[in-house]
């Protein structure tokens, strides 16, 4: 059997009384890219944001069921959400550089995990920027404000920031939807490379993107997972009617 | 310092700041009540029903009804003058002024908002007050002059608040009106203003609150008579003016001292009332 790192079991999520995710069951395989697709409002972002419990910040959000990370339920009472989020990183829809220098953006996360030695921080900053294919562009201006970078550069900086603290899983919430085609292409290539070291879950409404980079795809509709399989199989041969309609552009 | 100590320290600081704010409000109320207690006990209802304010006579009299009425009258008249003009200026800036023009005039108002009231009072006292004598008015400081001072003092805040609420009305609303062929003035006064009404009402309430609490302008320009003026050119004195001018020469703990705290208590009740109305207006609007 495949090497499962995350398993979602009978999982429901609510905003107040509104059910956003209905009885989700899925397994995420280590070092693979899993894409979550579906029309807007289908619950795909909610599901993703439940995996690192970032949705805890949303008032009136609550869950039922389990999400197992290394076989332990992250919704257990004794879970330390802060260390959970360090092990499961996240990159958002819009680039979210902090209002600090490029260097400090990455150092910020490192300091949170207790890296204090300057030399080590410098090495990690370089390592993560190289991994994020940004090093060559910014190595001479690490002190520049991150806000002055272009949108695509900002997003790669956010990826560098996420990987600098070496999580096991990285969640991407529509990471290219606010970017131009060239930047999108760069980031897709980057995500594929990252899969060698990290497990990746990406929410996207872009069918082409899922086809290009993901190993597995799951398709959601109105809060339910209607289909999940290897990406090639789903795209070539969707079994569910809703998936067929979505892939042919009838809903979305 | 490790992370959790830092976390605790920061949370403590936040709690302390909240506690200071809360205890300031309660502290102010408690102090005013405590210090005015002996006035209530010894002067009693006379405080509010008598117009005779002779605190340093023998026997002294502490009737502040006239000053309460003056405070309210100044507030009413002041608002009646400043609000319409602020509204018209805000309409002009909102709908007609070019961006740079709007920016510049706004800037002038913002600077005026920072001018200390004592400066406004001094300028009017020096350059306007002498004119009264020339036209045969016996009191060079009077209700009218105080109202002029209050006008300059409050027109920036009133105009800015009204302008902000007009500017926050969605463009589509105005476009819909314009598309029906309405001239702009009609659109701005009927449609935009209606949509911005809660903001405008809030501006009026906050302006009124600013006037009722203003001290130096009414003190230096009002003429300082603790009676109800019969015409605009009569001198008058408000609660705030009495506190600021008499307190420094009053013995701590005396009945006069206590009566001035009672005046402060009346003032804070007014201001709390105004703020509560403002909160209610904004909250109702939100829903």
């Amino acid at each position: 059997m495949r090497d499962v790192i995350i398993e979602v079991k009978n999982f429901n999520a609510y905003y107040a009384d509104k059910k956003a995710v209905k009885d989700a069951n899925l397994k995420i395989e280590k070092n693979k890219i899993t894409a979550i697709m579906g029309p807007s409002g289908c619950g795909k972002s909610t599901l993703l944001r439940s995996i690192n419990r970032i949705n805890d910040l949303v008032p009136e959000f609550r869950t039922e069921g389990e999400i197992l990370f290394h076989d332990r339920n992250i919704y257990d009472r004794e879970t330390d959400v802060y260390s959970l989020r360090r092990r499961i990183g996240m990159v958002f829809q819009r680039p979210t550089p902090f209002p600090m220098s490029i260097f400090d953006n990455i150092a910020y996360g490192l300091k949170l995990i207790g890296v204090t030695e300057k030399k080590e921080i410098k090495e990690k900053v370089r390592w993560s920027l190289e991994k994020a294919a940004l090093w060559e562009e910014v190595k001479d201006e690490l002190d520049k404000s991150a806000l002055k970078l272009s949108g695509g550069q900002q997003q790669r900086l956010c990826i560098a920031r996420a990987i600098a603290i070496e999580p096991e899983v990285i969640l991407f919430d529509e990471p290219t939807s606010a970017l131009d085609p060239v930047s999108t292409q760069k980031i897709e290539g980057l995500i594929e490379e990252l899969a060698e070291e990290f497990t990746i879950i990406i929410v996207t409404h872009n069918i082409g993107q899922a086809a290009r980079i993901s190993d597995y795809t799951l398709f959601m509709y109105q809060g339910e997972i209607v289909e999940q399989n290897e990406t090639t199989k789903i795209l070539r041969n969707p079994t569910h009617e809703v998936t067929q309609q979505y892939l042919s552009g009838k809903i979305g | 310092m490790n992370r959790s100590t830092k976390d605790t320290l920061r949370k403590t600081l936040l709690t302390v700041s909240s506690l200071i704010a809360i205890s300031a409000v309660f502290g102010i109320y408690i102090y005013l009540i405590k210090e005015s207690y002996s006035a209530f006990q010894q002067v009693g209802a006379e405080l509010f029903v008598s117009d005779q304010w002779y605190p340093v006579w023998d026997p002294p009299e502490f009737g502040m009804r006239a000053m309460i009425i003056n405070s309210l009258m100044v507030t009413l008249l002041g608002s009646l003058i400043v609000v319409p003009f602020s509204y018209l200026i805000a309409i002009y800036l909102h709908g007609y002024a070019k961006p740079r023009e709007k920016e510049m005039i706004r800037r002038i108002f913002e600077y005026l908002a920072g001018v200390p009231s004592v400066v406004i009072a001094f300028v009017l006292l020096t350059f306007v007050s002498p004119l009264f004598a020339q036209v045969g008015i016996y009191s060079p400081q009077n209700l009218l002059l105080a109202l002029v001072g209050l006008f300059f003092l409050t027109i920036p805040i009133c105009t800015t608040l009204i302008l902000e609420s007009l500017d926050s009305v969605p463009k589509q609303v105005e476009e819909a009106s314009a598309a029906l062929g309405a001239i702009e003035f009609r659109t701005y006064t009927r449609v935009t203003s209606k949509a911005a009404l809660p903001g405008i009402m809030n501006a009026i309430v906050l302006t009124a609150n600013r006037i009722v609490g203003e001290t130096i302008v009414v003190l230096l320009l009002g003429g300082g008579a603790a009676m109800i003026p019969q015409k605009l050119t009569d001198p008058m004195k408000t609660l705030t003016a009495a506190i600021a001018s008499e307190m420094p020469e009053t013995a701590k703990g005396s009945l006069h001292y206590s009566s001035l705290f009672a005046a402060g208590l009346v003032l804070i009740l007014f201001s709390t009332l105004f703020e509560v109305v403002s909160i209610a207006i904004l909250r109702r609007n939100k829903r």
Binding site: R85, M90 | S17, A21, G27, G114, V115, T240, L267
Partner: protein
């Protein structure tokens, strides 16, 4: 703002089709005249405050104490007192105001918001009464710099915290989430992410608060200021002279003989206001 103008030009065209041009123009011209008259009045107020006093500026005016019953000398003690009081009150109010602004923005506590709104509406003279009762009498500080600074600090606290609240509240949720996603705690998100990103607005409001504090008169009459101090302050518990209270006392109790000093003081005060606000606006503009 641009969109707004485009819109109004557009609507002008539309309106002209069905309405007499005159009618629309007339209201525009009337409103413009009203606006310009008041703008001119305000500007002349500035000129009347600034210009007549400038001619009394000289080295003695800024370095000497008043003498001969306010007929000669300068305003040095008042200048010094105002600067001391303003700096001290800001040193207390800015950190506290930032903390309170954070609470307003990041903790959804209705009663704290209520309390700050009430505080912002309390008349300055009532703050003066409170300062007099609590700081000067009960805590035994008497008429002193410290009592005045504490009173002023309390007064500008709601100004600072409301402004911090507004800018912090406007920071997009995503930015907070990005920090949480790295495993940061709430206090770390607040102090290491949000506070640095509202730095500029904190600077702006600090200068606005300085403008407020330097011009306040009524609370200082009750808590800190004396008409004439024979000595310069030697400690935080000394009474002081300040520019606005000096101007107030001169206007209230002195006639022609001290007019020159009052005008000189007025011009200094208004210059302070212009400088302080210009700096504040400059910070705000850079942000845009």
């Amino acid at each position: 703002m641009n969109e707004n103008t485009n819109f109004s030009q557009e609507s002008t065209k539309r309106a002209r089709k069905s309405n007499p041009v005159n009618k629309g123009m007339r209201s525009k011209v009337t409103l413009r005249v009203i606006t310009y008259i008041f703008a001119a009045l305000i500007l002349s107020l500035f000129l009347l405050a600034l210009v007549p006093g400038i001619r009394y500026w000289n080295l003695d005016f800024f370095t000497q104490a008043p003498s001969n019953g306010m007929t000669s000398g300068g305003i040095f003690p008042a200048l010094l007192g105002s600067i001391l009081l303003t700096l001290l009150s800001l040193a207390i109010a800015i950190p506290l105001g930032i903390l309170l602004g954070i609470v307003l923005s990041e903790y959804n506590l209705e009663y704290i918001r209520f309390v700050v709104t009430i505080l912002s509406g309390i008349p300055s003279v009532v703050y003066g009464l409170f300062g007099l009762g609590l700081f000067c009498i009960t805590l035994g500080m008497r008429t002193s710099i410290l009592a005045g600074a504490l009173t002023l600090a309390l007064m500008v606290l709601p100004v600072i915290s409301s402004s911090v609240y507004e800018t912090m509240h406007a920071i997009p949720r995503e930015l907070r989430e990005a920090a949480y996603a790295l495993g940061a705690r709430k206090s770390e998100v607040i102090f290491e992410m949000l506070v640095p990103s509202v730095k500029r607005s904190i600077l702006t409001v600090s200068f606005v608060a300085a403008g407020r504090a330097i011009g306040e008169t009524a609370p200082l009459i009750l808590t800190a200021a004396v008409f004439y101090a024979t000595n310069l302050p030697t400690s935080l518990l000394s009474p002081v002279m300040t520019l606005p209270t000096h101007l107030y006392f001169l206007s209230a109790s002195y006639g022609e003989s001290a007019r020159w000093m009052a005008q000189g003081t007025t011009s200094v005060l208004i210059l302070f206001v212009i400088v302080v606000y210009t700096i504040a606006f400059a910070f705000r503009r850079e942000k845009k």
